[in-house]
């Protein structure tokens, strides 16, 4: 009997290992191996040995640093804006129901089904020079506004819209841990909306906000389509910069160095994400 149980447990372990084997193999093949190759390829050169010259170049080159700084700035601002825009919608959807809430949810999730290229061209048609907004302003005999197209604000607006659904879903998942009864209990004791949010809701969804921000940063840091189509040519975000260095400048070493640096930043945020997940699992419901 015990032997049969043991063999069952062993069989379960084996099938469990087989189930995770494929994704782990893909992770090694498609992520870890190329990362290792890139790191080694940027610091070790057959015949000449080890050199960190490409990294030294990146961190002393003013243009590269401006690009990195722009990427950090756009990533930070876009992440914060996404959470700031999605939070009120998430709160509304968590604590309200009915047809209006269903409509709000459908509208908020709509960008998830629109490809980034279409978002970019829709943006140009609406906010670009001589776009719909300009046309309306002219028709009303009002002065044209400065278009955010090809300025750092361009990719920020596009990326906020594009990433809103994922941010909303992540926040909604976190808000699911805040029971309606716990909110009612605070209201019952005299808490207004601001106190409710800051004292009851926010502390309970801290880890979800960190996860949301980390997820956003991971996607934004290496974003390509929207920064490429809507952003300025100089300085530029790391995504277009890497692509241009690789194909236009035909400089794979520096492109790979930029990729490794981008990966290092993303890995740091990945670590924050993993720690937030672990903390969330330890926290009592």
């Amino acid at each position: 009997m015990i032997a049969a149980l043991r063999s069952g447990v062993a069989g379960g372990r084996l099938s469990g290992l087989l189930l995770v084997a494929l994704p782990v193999a893909l992770l090694i093949w498609l992520v870890l191996w190329p990362v290792l190759q890139a790191i080694v390829g940027t610091v070790y050169f057959p015949g000449t040995g080890f050199s960190t010259a490409s990294y030294a170049y990146f961190f002393t080159d003013a243009y590269s640093l401006r690009n990195l700084w722009l990427t950090l700035w756009v990533t930070a601002l876009t992440s914060v804006l996404r959470v700031a825009v999605a939070m009120p919608i998430a709160l509304y959807l968590r604590f309200r129901s009915g047809p209006v809430a269903a409509l709000v949810q459908a509208l908020a999730l709509f960008p998830m089904f629109v490809p980034s290229v279409l978002v970019a061209y829709a943006f140009i048609r609406v906010l670009g020079p001589n776009g719909i907004v300009d046309t309306i302003l002219v028709a009303l005999h009002l002065p044209k506004l400065a278009s955010p197209y090809l300025t750092p604000a361009g990719p920020i607006i596009g990326l906020v819209w594009d990433g809103l659904p994922l941010t909303l879903l992540l926040l909604l998942s976190g808000l699911g841990r805040v029971s309606i009864a716990s909110v009612d209990a605070a209201r019952d004791l005299g808490a207004g909306s601001f106190t409710l949010f800051t004292r009851i809701i926010l502390p309970r969804i801290q880890s979800s906000i960190i996860v949301t921000l980390a997820f956003n940063v991971l996607g934004l840091f290496s974003a390509f389509t929207l920064p490429f189509l809507l952003g300025p040519a100089s300085p530029e975000m790391m995504g277009p910069y890497m692509q241009r260095t690789f194909s236009d400048n035909a400089d794979p070493l520096n492109a790979t160095t930029q990729a490794v640096i981008t990966f290092a930043f993303c890995a740091a945020f990945g670590l924050i994400y993993v720690r937030a997940i672990a903390k969330g699992r330890k926290a009592p419901a």
Binding site: S182, D184, A185, A186, D188, L189
Partner: protein, 357 residues
């Protein structure tokens, strides 16, 4: 003084009527239980009093002040929730002090009042713990303390012990009753447990399908149910469909004296049926005996197969399959559109000694 007056209160969610025009006065210092099955509207009524829902019709007044449109935070009420609803990121002290901090009381007074209420609920020294470090019963005590500390005029309890085991539930309900009486606070307690309602209430409001079925003292509700629903819902009851004719009701093989005509329901409490010798009339076949320790319930069938439960002395022993006689001592007849009629047998004789073990 803390009186609650509900006048013509109704609540509809879309096309669904959760509560139908309801009038009720809860007097100062009274503990009233709202009792009913799931979906009867008892929690909706409590949430209306607490301000978490707004009535579709009618008014709610507390101490003569109309609070119908006031939000919860502006009513002199405090609610204890079924799920405890403690804030897990705050300590016990933080949870209890929350309402006092919102009232901007001095720090020393907050500390003193929190200590006092912790003492009241038997949790002195637990202030620094997190809710996750407490048992279910302790968590519910913290929830009670959190509501009591703001000294509400009306304490609302929404099935507060539903998630606790029977033993703990009984202990806590007695504690709540003690605290409520000591503080002289008016309380409204929602439960679907009839034992709980009978044990702690000054009055019980029985609800079904959003309608008030009966309001009365526990003993009164038990002994004199006004509707067939109340009769069947409160306590154990044999409910039999029958027909009134020729001065008697015929139901499930039983015939008992009763006035009127037409269809009716016959209600007999198990303790109102006595076992008798077979020759004394109505016969039942014993299916099984259920020994509750303090008493015995004989699950039996009448000649036509109708189930009948008989509560009797714990010393009585009968066997499954045995045929025994029964005498019905009290019964109530519910006929559509009429007041219930209660009857009592004058011919009750004791069960013979041979049947005692």
């Amino acid at each position: 003084m803390a009186q609650v007056r509900l006048s013509g209160i109704a609540k509809a969610f879309g096309k669904v009527t959760a509560l139908d025009a309801m009038d009720l006065v809860i007097e100062d210092g009274e503990l009233v239980c709202l009792l009913g099955p799931s979906g009867s509207g008892k929690s909706t009524l409590l949430r209306l009093i607490g301000g978490f829902e707004t009535p579709s019709e009618g008014t709610i007044a507390i101490d003569g002040v109309d609070v119908t449109r006031l939000p919860p935070e502006r009513r002199p009420t405090a609610m204890v929730f079924q799920s405890h609803a403690l804030w897990s990121h705050m300590t016990v002290h933080g949870n209890i002090a929350f309402g006092l901090k919102l009232r901007r009381l001095p720090r020393a007074e907050i500390r003193e009042r929190v200590e006092r209420v912790l003492d009241l609920v038997g949790l002195s020294g637990y202030g620094a713990r997190l809710p996750s470090q407490l048992s279910g019963g302790q968590q519910q005590r913290v929830a009670l303390a959190r509501s009591l500390v703001i000294e509400p005029k009306i304490l609302l309890l929404d099935e507060p012990f539903a998630s606790l085991d029977q033993h703990l539930r009984e202990r806590l309900r007695d504690e709540v009753r003690d605290i409520q009486q000591r503080l002289g606070i008016t309380a409204v307690f929602v439960t679907h447990g009839q034992d709980e309602a009978l044990a702690i209430s000054d009055r019980i409001v029985v609800l079904a399908d959003g309608r008030m079925q009966q309001v009365g003292r526990p003993g009164e509700i038990y002994a004199e149910p006004k509707t067939a629903f109340v009769a069947g819902f409160i306590g154990a009851m044999n409910m039999l469909d029958g027909t009134l004719a020729d001065g008697e009701i015929a139901a499930g093989g039983l015939k008992l004296p009763a006035e009127g005509s037409g269809p009716a329901r016959l209600a007999i409490r198990p303790e109102d049926i006595a076992l008798s010798e077979p020759e004394e009339g109505r016969m039942v076949t014993v299916r099984r005996m259920i020994d509750f320790g303090s008493h015995v319930v004989v699950d039996s069938t009448l000649a036509d197969g109708t189930h009948l439960r008989v509560q009797t002395d714990k010393a009585v022993r009968v066997e499954a399959g045995e045929r025994v006689g029964i005498r019905v001592e009290r019964w109530t007849v519910f006929a559509e559109g009429e007041e219930p009629r209660r009857y009592r047998s004058d011919t009750v004789r004791s069960f013979r000694d041979v049947r005692y073990a």
